[in-house]
């Protein structure tokens, strides 16, 4: 890999001061499971790498003072999240972490790093740029693992985060900070992600000198318990990317869904909130037919590419089964 300068700040303020406003000049190291490979392959060639893992403000789970939310430090390792007593009730999050299937990724990846994983698109990884010649390489080439939604523009990769669908379903918000500690914005996690339209953009809205500092999770309300689940269709037990994924949260009262949020993963350049499908669930009890109807609705407007039509069905099945799983019903797939 090329040479670069390195810093490992302890404070958020120092971290932000070390980040350049110019795209590509600095990269954030948040665990290394993704970035170091990208550096070695020279897909990324920053002048400076800033390790965020020791930044104190990015550690730990904290109750937000005004209540109602937990703040998860972005530098927390996934196994720490998995074992944290305050996070026990966020079932979908745990299922997503378990889905990674690798002790090593679970121990080494951080929350922020995982949510900002770069796309696995093989044209991007081969150095053709995120959009791979304005999307031409993907359109004309082998797109079996590419997007089936939101792929009319040049971006046809799929969002790589395995945790994002679960966290979005759980109504997580992202706390973005920078370029100075005073500049702080909180956005629904789904709004962290964007579909880039040219090579100057990345797949998140983070500016080069901005970091994802925290994830805010609404605190469980005992009176309205939220059931959630994540379901991935994986090609085998390895840690490689699923073929389709879905996560859902259901607020169920007296057997009837009061609120629902269904999110698809691995199907579009961003995690995809399936609003229509979610609405189909509200006001009804969850059963096989209802879940299937929601699954169908979730993929109704899919626009597969030349080689990935199969993913439409997989996304539908993932959505259906995530709903069934959240409701405590059998998914109809392999025993887990």
């Amino acid at each position: 890999m090329n040479n670069f300068a390195y810093a490992q700040p302890r404070r958020l303020e120092s971290l932000l001061a070390l980040l350049s406003p110019t795209p590509g000049e600095t990269e954030v190291l948040a665990g290394g499971t993704d970035l170091v490979g990208l550096l070695r392959e020279r897909v990324l060639t920053p002048e400076r790498v800033v390790n965020v893992c020791d930044v104190e403000e990015l550690q730990g789970v904290h109750e937000v003072p005004e209540g109602g939310a937990l703040a998860l430090g972005a530098a927390m390792r996934l196994d720490e999240l998995h074992e944290h007593p305050l996070l026990e009730s966020y079932t979908a999050l745990h299922q997503a972490i378990c889905g990674l299937r690798s002790l090593q990724y679970q121990a080494q990846s951080t929350l922020g790093g995982e949510l900002c994983r770069r796309p696995r698109c093989w044209y991007f990884r081969a150095g053709h740029g995120l959009l791979a010649d304005g999307g031409r390489l993907i359109r004309e080439g082998d797109n079996r693992y590419h997007a089936i939604f939101d792929n009319a523009g040049p971006a046809k990769f799929v969002s790589a985060s395995r945790l994002a669908p679960a966290l979005i379903a759980l109504d997580a918000r992202a706390v973005l900070v920078g370029p100075e500690p005073e500049y702080l914005s909180v956005v629904p996690l789904e709004e962290l992600y964007q579909t880039p339209i040219d090579e100057s953009q990345r797949e998140t809205i983070l500016q080069p000198n901005q970091v994802l500092a925290q994830i805010l999770l609404p605190q469980a309300d005992a009176s309205a318990a939220v059931a959630s689940a994540a379901y991935e269709v994986r090609h085998g037990e390895g840690p490689d990317d699923p073929l389709a994924a879905a996560a859902v949260s259901l607020q169920i009262e007296s057997g009837v869904v009061r609120q629902a949020k269904l999110v698809l993963g691995q199907v579009a350049p961003t995690p995809r909130v399936a609003d229509t499908a979610s609405r189909l669930l509200v006001g009804h009890a969850v059963d096989q037919l209802r879940a299937e109807a929601a699954g169908r609705a979730a993929v109704a407007d899919a626009t597969p590419l030349s080689r990935n039509e199969y993913k439409v069905q997989l996304a539908e099945v993932a959505a259906t089964r995530a709903i069934l799983k959240a409701a405590g019903l059998a998914t109809g797939g392999f025993d887990e």
Binding site: M1, N2, N3, R40, R42, R101, R120, W122, R125, A126, G127, L137, E140, G141, D142, R144, V233, R234, H235, G236, E237, G238, D240, D241, L243, N308, Y310, K311, Q313, L314, V317, A330, T331, G332, G333, F334
Partner: protein, 748 residues
């Protein structure tokens, strides 16, 4: 000295042979102490990384190394792909015919500097049209990349048949045979190219010492690679030492120093420093070995019992840049109907030339033909077991039909086949999950390779041996020690067996399951020869006939009378001042009571398929395998487990994915080149079939056979579960779904 009769001890007399023995180097491997080629660090060594060609087909117009040379830490830049002059003295631009070919090597003080230097190389390419669509025969023909082979036809002619016009006769006969067939099946089957993907990439760590080359090389062929280096470097093999104590996987891809090994030697010579040149992971996948793909259309006809009478197939595929493909010789596999016609077309693609891959040709042949036999069972509504058994009537194998029949029975019992069986596509459904059974059979030669062993017995009783073989992880080192220990009646720990360098007596390359036979032959012969000499001395001392003596339990004594003898140490002290040195050689192909060739085996698979997602999950695999005399059941079983798991790998996971547009190898990394993981292998039951008549045959190699029939067995199980054939391996979820959908369309 009496003429030594080479033989193995009987099952009852054997002390070690046939018992489970731990591999001798197991502790070194699992504690990280074992030093592989990649792990050998020589003082002041340079690290070499190479630029690989990003294009599948191009010409190299120019190479500018100046910026790379300026990178701090870069010591030397070595251009591998240099322009040549044609007969008229004109410069011919080098043409690259597949992605990944190494163009320029950069030697530096650290990995980082070498990699940075590679990044600074400037190469101008003239990009040419690639062709990599090996499954698409029409496209290959159109691109003039296809070459037809000579058809092979065997039609049983009656004495009164008119065979004046051979082709017309064949056509007429084939037509007649299909007319008369009770069942006719037509099918399409295939298997994609896969790579060797050795976890230790190809490469070498080497240095020059006083004009001699000392190379640590990751190789399956220590005794042959000194020649390889010497030939390329214009020297003689006596000036080359090749060492390979441990090798991180070979599978048929590591027989030569390769051009990057030669480049390493040249760089080392030029710089006067040791050099380490190991391929990167993507280079390993792109250029260091792959298995040919194969695709086949077939029509077969069977009689009312389901015995195939006529097979008519047309196959194609590629071995890469040199054309070639799967040999049609093995089609249909193991089974050979009385009448057949096989046609093949070989396709030339812009992919690296294939290398031998564990059981060359056999896994593909099995997956492309025993699937058709299973489709015959499906068509008949018959139990696949019965069809596979009945067709044993017509086989072409070095193992006997009765042995296969016996192995099938054992397999069926271990799988509980009859209880689990349901007709194709007619099993119970749980949610969207269905399950099914499949089976297939295989064969292999496995005759012993050439090997020489030198045994040294010291007057103090110490035993050491030297043999230029290598242990690929199969347990060869352990076998060497075991055979000598058995011969001398000693514990394994008393024998110091040395292997892994070309300085030792020649032993053949480890390919084709030839190694266990080779080292068993050379070590047993050397051991028996040495023992005979020792017994001369002991016999003299005790006043008994040397031929009456045996070595057992640490003593040399009169057979049946343990008290009439000497301890091993006392016996050895009779040697006087000098050790006893004996060398024995086994020549490949010579008649021998110690080893044989020709094995068979059966594998059965039980799978679950999620028909909504196309996911396949292996529940259980049963592997029944004969291999003549089993020396070490522990490591033999491991070989079979490994073969079964590799079968799962190419049935369900691994495939080389080429970009039809750019010719790029898209998944040349472990994140996308999917291999099974621990959670993917289900339950594996291994049964070694070793009745007395098989044991008497002596040692037969085992590496290849268990990797062969898993593909067809798993494919057949998926077909039995779903009622549809997923034609091409690996059966990835998209392919399984496509097959299910196409059947849905056909039946609606």
């Amino acid at each position: 000295m009496a003429n030594v009769q080479y033989q193995w001890p009987s099952a009852s007399a054997a002390q070690l042979l046939g018992t489970r023995q731990r591999r001798l180097d197991g502790a070194d491997k699992s504690t990280g102490a074992a030093k592989y080629t990649y792990d050998v660090n020589l003082p002041k060594q340079l690290i070499v990384k190479a630029l690989d060609c990003p294009h599948a087909h191009c010409r190299i117009k120019s190479i500018d190394t100046s910026a790379a040379r300026r990178v701090p830490g870069v010591v030397h830049v070595h251009v591998i792909k240099t322009p040549k002059k044609d007969a008229d003295g004109n410069t011919v631009l080098p043409e690259v015919l597949f992605q990944g070919e190494l163009l320029v090597a950069v030697a530096a003080e650290t990995e980082g500097a070498a990699a940075e230097g590679v990044g600074k190389l400037k190469v101008e390419y003239e990009v040419l049209e690639p062709f990599v669509s090996e499954e698409e025969l029409d496209a290959a023909v159109q691109a003039q990349r296809a070459k037809e082979g000579r058809p092979r036809v065997s039609i049983q002619a009656e004495p009164d048949d008119d065979v004046e016009d051979e082709e017309q006769f064949e056509n007429d006969e084939i037509e007649r045979l299909f007319r008369e067939a009770k069942y006719v099946v037509e099918g399409y089957y295939g298997i994609d190219a896969i790579t060797h993907c050795c976890l230790e990439p190809h490469g070498t760590t080497l240095h020059w010492q006083d004009g001699r080359l000392v190379a640590y090389l990751s190789t399956q062929n220590v005794s042959g690679c000194d020649d390889g280096f010497a030939a390329a470097l214009d020297m003689t093999a006596d000036d080359v030492d090749v060492h390979c104590e441990y090798i991180g996987g070979g599978f048929g891809s590591k027989f030569r120093p390769d051009y990057w090994g030669i480049a390493a030697a040249e760089i080392s010579k030029k710089t006067g420093r040791p050099v380490k040149f190991m391929l990167e992971r993507d280079q390993e996948l792109m250029i260091a070995g792959n298995r040919p793909s194969g695709y086949l259309n077939v029509k077969l006809g069977a009689d009312e019992k389901g015995v195939v009478q006529i097979w008519d197939s047309a196959q194609w595929g590629t071995s890469g840049v040199t054309g070639g493909g799967v040999a049609d010789k093995w089609i249909p596999y193991v089974y050979e109907p009385p009448n057949y016609r096989r046609r093949s077309t070989f396709i030339t693609t812009n992919t690296d030339q294939s290398r031998a891959w564990r059981a060359p040709n056999h896994p593909q042949a099995c997956a492309m033909s025993q699937t058709a036999y299973d489709d015959l069972a499906a068509k008949m509504g018959a139990n696949s077991y019965d069809i596979f058994e009945r067709n044993l009537k017509h086989i072409s194998s070095r193992q006997k039909a009765e042995v296969y029949a016996e192995e099938m029975k054992i397999g069926a019992r271990l799988m509980d086949w009859q209880a689990k069986w349901h007709p194709h596509g007619k099993g119970p459904r749980r949610g969207s999950v269905v399950d099914g059974l499949g089976m297939a059979i295989h064969m292999w030669g496995g005759g012993a390779n050439a090997s020489t062993c030198q045994v040294k017995i010291h007057p103090d009783g110490g035993v050491e041996s030297y043999c230029g073989t290598q242990d690929l992880g199969t347990g060869t080192r352990t076998i060497c020690a075991m055979v000598l220990a058995e011969t001398f009646g000693l514990p394994i720990s008393a024998v110091n067996a040395n292997i892994g360098t070309s300085k030792f007596p020649f032993s053949g390359a480890s390919g084709g399951s030839t190694t266990v036979g080779a080292v068993a032959e050379s070590h047993r012969r050397a051991g028996q020869d040495a023992l005979a000499q020792l017994c001369e001395k002991v016999g003299e001392k005790l006043g008994v006939k040397p031929a009456s003596l045996v070595a057992a339990a640490g003593r040399i004594h009169v057979a049946g009378k343990p008290d009439e003898g000497l301890s091993w140490r006392e016996a050895c002290s009779l040697l006087g001042m000098r050790p006893l040195e004996v060398t024995a050689t086994f020549k490949r192909g010579q008649k021998t009571p110690l080893s044989d060739e020709g094995v068979g085996g059966v594998q059965m698979a039980h799978v679950e398929v999620d028909t909504a997602t196309g996911q396949v999950r292996v529940k259980k695999i049963v592997a029944v395998q004969d291999m003549g005399l089993v020396l070490n059941p522990q490591t033999a079983e491991s070989q079979i487990y490994g073969g079964v798991i590799m079968g799962i790998a190419y049935s369900l996971f691994e495939q080389r994915i080429m970009d039809p547009k750019t010719g790029a190898f898209l998944n040349s990394n472990l994140a996308n080149y999917r291999l099974p993981r621990l959670g993917d292998v289900g339950e594996i039951v291994v049964e070694i079939y070793e009745p007395p008549d098989q044991r008497e045959r002596g040692v037969i190699g085992l590496g290849e056979p268990p990797v062969i029939s898993g593909g067809a067995a798993i494919s057949n199980a998926v077909c039995n579960a779903t009622g549809v054939r997923v034609p091409v391996l690996p059966m990835t979820p998209d392919r399984v779904l496509a097959a299910i959908k196409s059947q849905g369309r056909a039946s609606s």
